[in-house]
Amino acid sequence: MNTPEENAGQSKPSIRSYLTLRMRDYGILLALIVIIAFFQIVTDGVLMRPVNITNLFLQNSYVIIMALGMLMIIVAGHIDLSVGSIVGFIGALAAVLIVQWNVPVIVTIFACIFAGMLIGAWQGYWVAYWKIPSFIVTLAGMLIFRGLSLWLLNGQSVGPFPSSFQLLSTGFVPDIFGVGKPNMTALAAGIIAAAAIVYLAWRGRARNVAYGIEDEPYSFFLGRNIIVAAVLVFVSWKLASFRGLPNVLVSMAILTVIYTFITESTTFGRRVYAIGGNEKAAALSGINTRRLNFIVFVNMGMLAALAGLVFAARLNIATPKAGNGFELDVIAAVFIGGASMSGGVGKIVGAVVGAFIMGIMNNGMSIMGIGIDYQQVIKGLVLLAAVVFDVYNKNKA
């Protein structure tokens, strides 16, 4: 089994079975490429303009940040409907602290993130220790925190924020190479990231092959990595020819790496998947399911607060309506990314790609001038199609 000859001999007939098993992983990558290509053509290339790509990241940053937490919530077998309201509430809190009370920006940021964790703890407490269904708890939270943001802001919009706060969302990393245009920092970051991803994938594969548990055909492995690396370098080139790396993209990328690590390489992440896969078996294996469920909600509250800050910084004003309906975008992104409603299944990368699919569709359709009415219909159909595709594959396998 461990000799290369045997592996090579085996890989031929297994490509097909491998594909059916991993249809989802490739399917979403394929879907992303198709959607990009489609909008690139119908918008006459506007989609891929440097300014638009930069905008894409700025517009979707908060959805992606929240999708990281939502993925863990859904993997653990729960749902969080309140994140949109938390975004609004935290934005309002930041505005009141900074604009009305003149609290320093850095203090406000930490206070807001702490407030988000408290909100998560409040909801997690009921879900984890009282076994109240998360749908109910967070539906209540959706109303409670929307109401509280209205109360905080007295129903008014509060702003603008000082420029140091706006940097959270609209700032760019300065070009350390001093070239200016194209921005060499952005390009270098893209190339380094691509190299790192390929290196890690190659190392992981080598280890799996040594244990004889690698099932991805070499050609697929190669193709997948070339595409990922090429996309990264391409995007960083586009960013470099506009204003460089947005701050929020950097934090997003760092967060994505951290959460991928947590979900795939820590005992904590493993236990969250086990809880979602079979909570009773997990509990009987000595896993403290209540504490883990609690932490997952605290984490979601923290990320929702961060997203709330980023969103407020981007709009430069806090309004009582901020974040309305965000929960749906976030949840849709996670499900498009391949997570399962029944828990135990889903990947961080999938959720991020799912968020990009939603974001590119929003962006592309807006450029095309499609009305908000049709946009919603189309987004709904795409979400449904993604999940139907999932279920179809699962039944076939």
């Binding site: 280890r207 099932d215 005992t267 493993r270 998947y273 078996a281 509990a283 009987l284």
Partner: protein, 506 residues
């Protein structure tokens, strides 16, 4: 007396298993006919054939009912003829009232509009017949299991029952409720209703049955007419268990050491029915290198005992002490129980033992993730190495450890569960029905593994419904019945008859 039901040479096969072979059953009009046999002997299958759950054509043999050949295509066909079956798990909707439950699917209605006065009136009449005094509007969840059983019977009466089949009706009932139910059966008999009673409790059978059919391994092995001959429990027991023992158990050298675990005065209350004691002051011990069996019927409290010891995973108001290696240990949560050196292999490996959609690797390490990680970061090379080790050691048949466990056979799944617990390095393993649903070859492997564990000086507790397996494997056997340990036998003096007599003795 006329014969109401005559089942002739009934044979029913499932893929790979012959559940019934040439079973004969003859029930006379107006009698109470008992059907007895071990778990899995085929009693329930036979009743499913009779009631049409397995429709005509899916079995061989003939059923003659009320003078004609019966060809039921489903339950509704047999119900129309007055054959009503009451299953062990009651088919009542807890959130509906007694009246609503009785007429569920059979509502007293005109063009779809329910007439509540008529419903309540009829319900009251039926409740009087079964001796239930609760108002018809009472929700079923508010009354106890005993009364729920009566509601089921009232429901059967509402359908003009002629042949009433009760599957283990007293299994979940207290003694006084059981007595009430049995006297109701006798009353119904006066009214001309024929019953088939499936029961493990031979004292009950003796008390009410007019005739008895014993089923063993899918065949009817004895017909006893209680009206003509004196029936002794011993005779029934012998018929129930009288099968030849083959040498299906690996030999082992017994090397039994000091006491390893002892459980003292263990008492557990039911998690929902707060006035019901499930485990009653149980004491037992396990020595190093010893395999101790716990025999008993399903529902006797064996699993509840094991799960309540393993981190209080079952029950409430648990009291008693657990001693391991001469020290009193805290087993109040699962992590603490694992830390103390306990492992519990569940009887329901799919629902409670495995994360089915995950690969072997992740299942094997689940109970001991610190063993493959540092500072909370998993070492996946170490993890793969560990599961590879167990794949070879346990002979898990799979191409790679990346295989998802849902794709494994029952025997291999069980080996994954065992691997998971061995990786926690336990001192005492409690194995709950470790060979249920796995084939003979895998069984032998699991027995060999148990012997090996004992040889390493661990203690093994084996819970099983299969008495031959207990007799073949254990050094000592405790017999459990209705939440209490009612007997303790050394392997040398144990026999199926002796175990059974402990169980059926009141």
């Amino acid at each position: 007396m006329t014969t109401l039901l005559e089942m002739k040479k009934i044979t029913k096969t499932f893929p790979g298993v012959k559940a019934l072979s040439d079973v004969d059953l003859s029930v006379e009009e107006g009698e109470i006919h008992a059907l007895v046999g071990e778990n899995g002997a085929g009693k329930s299958t036979l009743m499913k054939v009779l009631s049409g759950v397995y429709p005509h054509g899916s079995y061989e043999g003939e059923i003659h009912y009320a003078g004609e050949l019966a060809t039921f295509g489903g339950i509704s066909d047999s119900e129309k003829k007055g054959i009503i079956i009451i299953h062990q798990e009651l088919a009542l909707v807890p959130q509906l009232s007694i009246a609503e439950n009785i007429f569920l699917g059979n509502e007293v209605a005109r063009s779809g509009v329910i007439s509540w006065p008529d419903t309540y009136q009829k319900t009251e009449k039926l409740l009087r017949k079964v001796g239930l005094k609760d108002p018809p509007a009472t929700l079923v969840e508010k009354i106890g299991v005993g009364k729920q059983q009566l509601v089921e019977i009232a429901k059967a009466l509402s359908k003009d029952v002629r042949l009433l089949i009760l599957d283990e009706p007293t299994a979940a009932l207290s003694e006084s409720d059981s007595a009430k139910l049995l006297s109701l059966l006798l009353e119904l008999k006066q009214q001309g209703i024929t019953s088939i009673l499936i029961s493990h409790k031979l004292n009950e059978v003796e008390q009410v049955a007019d005739s008895i059919t014993v089923i063993r391994d899918g065949s009817s092995v004895a017909d006893i007419d209680c009206r003509k001959e004196e029936v002794s429990e011993a005779r029934i027991i012998q018929a129930m268990v009288g099968r030849a023992m083959e040498n299906r158990y690996p030999d082992r050298e017994r090397n039994i050491g000091q006491e390893l675990m002892s459980v003292k005065d263990w008492t557990v209350w039911h998690p929902e029915q707060t006035d019901r004691k499930v485990i009653k002051s149980v004491q037992f011990n396990v020595r190093a290198g010893e395999i101790v069996g716990i025999a008993g019927l399903m529902g006797s409290g064996r699993t509840e005992l094991a799960m309540s010891i393993f981190g209080q995973s079952y029950g409430r108001n648990i009291s008693g002490e657990v001693w391991l290696g001469g020290q009193k240990v805290d087993v109040s949560t699962v992590p603490k129980a694992i830390f103390a050196g306990l492992a519990y292999v569940t009887e329901d490996r799919k629902a409670l033992g495995l994360v089915l959609d995950e690969p072997i690797t992740k299942n094997v390490t689940l109970a001991n993730l610190p063993g493959v990680s540092k500072y909370g970061v998993l070492n996946s090379a170490e993890e793969t190495k560990t599961s590879e080790y167990y794949r070879k050691a346990m002979n898990i048949r799979t191409p790679t450890v990346a295989q998802r466990v849902v794709n494994l056979s029952g025997g291999n799944q069980q080996k994954v569960v065992l691997s998971k617990w061995l990786f926690t390095q336990p001192d005492v393993l409690i194995l709950d029905e470790p060979t249920r649903g796995i084939d003979v070859g895998a069984k032998f492997e699991i027995y060999s593994l148990m012997n090996q564990l004992a040889a390493e000086g661990r203690g093994v507790v084996m819970i099983s419904s299969e008495m031959p397996e207990l007799l073949g494997m254990c050094d000592r056997i405790y017999v459990m019945n209705e939440g209490a340990l009612v007997g303790e036998l050394d392997a040398a003096e144990a026999s199926q008859e002796r175990i059974m007599s402990f169980i059926v003795r009141k």
